[in-house]
Symmetry: C2
Subunit: 320 residues, 2 copies
């Protein structure tokens, strides 16, 4: 069987299953969550995550070198944010075409450094090699207090489903680019300069009010399916509770809904909160309640009707 | 200026200089050593390293999927070995062509898992994405007791220069492949299935006898220059002290010397030992004394004459 016939999630789960079980120090291993979690003794868990981006699919021509550097760090920090971790450091292995100008690499390095320092951490290492296409393979390390570890699983029936920010801003920008609409730099920012929710993630886990959490960088629908699979429960969200996206000339409201639900690129946090803890969560950061945890299924209520929300979104290996 | 005009070492140092200084928790940061070193409190330092390999330059067609997986983990473990670290876990971000057979990926995954478990650790995470060429970007984590941390710098004048194993075995195999000589699987093993010196690295730092250390995966000559730069001192080695390479039909003794000194691919450890601690070091593991630390220069003595040992070896960006 060729990989083109398998989705990315299925492939990761397939590979992870073939790995030997880790030692007791491995609290969360391969394929289980947004980060691996290790117990090194002490009060904190160590979290580590890796994410690889490359030119052809991740860096549109309009992106600057600085933005490429920023995004390559941000995508890794977002995985830390989704576990409420405090970042410890970032490494970047870069594959670089040999005809690249050094000044361009300087911009990329500045973008990496700016993103790391903006979120209270720094670049601590990496690797470089010659490659026909620009490749950025990042690794981020962080810590979280042991009693504050929040996983993808953990939601209980009746918990409220919540999301930070306005999902779909990156997706709407991507859609506008695909349709060759004229868009402002400002509109492209959520797509090209995503802000990992480090501060919000840390505040949420410190509030002790969150029962499960992940980021929605592959899209809201796919992430809801991930959390449903992890928790063994269902999720129902409501179209009219989704935070309204600013209109874009040339995009219809149906396009915007697609962007909000099915398109990746937003580094917002998706999490569940038991109803009685909503007040505590609200003190941690701004977010929107968009639905609730149910027995089974992943559903969206639109105009009074309930529809199944398909597991569509951003996967690196598309189903054939 | 284009990157083709800059060597890899110069590029890494250039990028690393542009990064903001880390916090006090960063003991060794970007571009300084084989691993980044973090202080998370407690008795141990946390070490982390990343290394990216790809098909075109790192995986000859004769390599099996299993060997590709093995090597991708081994190259990262070797960086841990060079600091005497105990491995904690390995992550692998994989870029995979979409027409790849799942069975091939299964072999790669088995190779990764076998290498990790062979050295007392496990695969704890990763990432997959579609790519036109197979790319393996690994990250390895490890720990070392704070008082046992050994760096690239630290050698003192008069220290003995030592190396584990037989440098050049991988290089000789590579040379034989380049010249299309018929070589046995056994001869290709050092090149395709390198053994990171985890056990030896740990034993050496525990013996407290080592003043500086690194691995020679980019070749002995380049590594001696790295240690010379780090310590601000010189190194002299002796051709007749280098462990003898087994002969290969079709390769002359001059070829073998080139393999031993200028060709990368061996995951042996290069380290310095103060003369009075040689006995303690010898109890830790097998190795060969090949020279001594001098005031300046990187020299090789051959047939009574002393030559300068050029900084030639494996660099991902070749000088034009």
């Amino acid at each position: 069987m060729e990989l083109a016939k398998i989705g990315e999630r299925e492939l990761i789960s397939h590979i992870a299953k073939s790995f030997s079980k880790g030692k007791d120090t491995v609290i969360i291993g391969a394929g289980e969550d947004d980060c691996a979690v290790l117990d090194m003794g002490g009060e904190d868990y160590l979290l580590v995550t890796t994410d690889m981006l490359h030119e052809e699919t991740d860096f549109p021509l309009r992106m600057t070198g600085w933005q490429i550097g920023w995004m390559s760090v941000a995508v890794n920090l977002s995985d830390l944010a989704s576990k409420g971790a405090r970042p410890l450091g970032v490494l970047m292995a870069m594959g670089i075409p040999s005809d690249t100008e050094l000044l361009f690499i300087d911009e990329v390095a500045k973008g990496m450094d700016d993103c790391a320092t903006a979120f209270g951490t720094c670049m601590i290492g990496g690797d470089t090699g010659e490659h026909d296409e620009l490749i950025m393979a990042g690794t981020a390390l962080g810590t979280v207090k042991k009693e504050q570890l929040v996983r993808r699983k953990g939601a209980k029936k009746g918990d409220l489903v919540c999301v930070t920010g306005i999902p779909g801003r990156a997706g709407a920008a991507l859609l506008a680019l695909d349709r060759k609409l004229r868009v402002s730099q400002e509109m492209l920012k959520p797509l090209f300069e995503p802000m990992p929710r480090i501060k919000e993630g840390m505040a949420l886990v410190e509030s002790g009010s969150v029962s499960s959490m992940m980021d929605i960088s592959d899209g809201l629908a796919l992430s809801l399916h991930d959390m449903s699979k992890a928790s063994g429960l269902g999720f129902r969200i409501y179209e009219d509770k989704l935070p309204a996206l600013p209109g874009i000339k040339g995009l219809k409201s149906r396009d915007l809904l697609d962007a909000a639900v099915f398109t990746g690129g937003d580094f917002e946090l998706l999490f569940t909160v038991p109803e009685e803890k909503l007040g505590a969560a609200k003190k941690a950061c701004d977010f929107t309640v968009i639905g609730e945890v149910i027995e089974s299924g992943v559903l969206i209520e639109r105009g009074g009707a309930v529809e199944e929300l398909k597991a569509k979104g951003y996967e690196h290996f598309k189903h054939a």
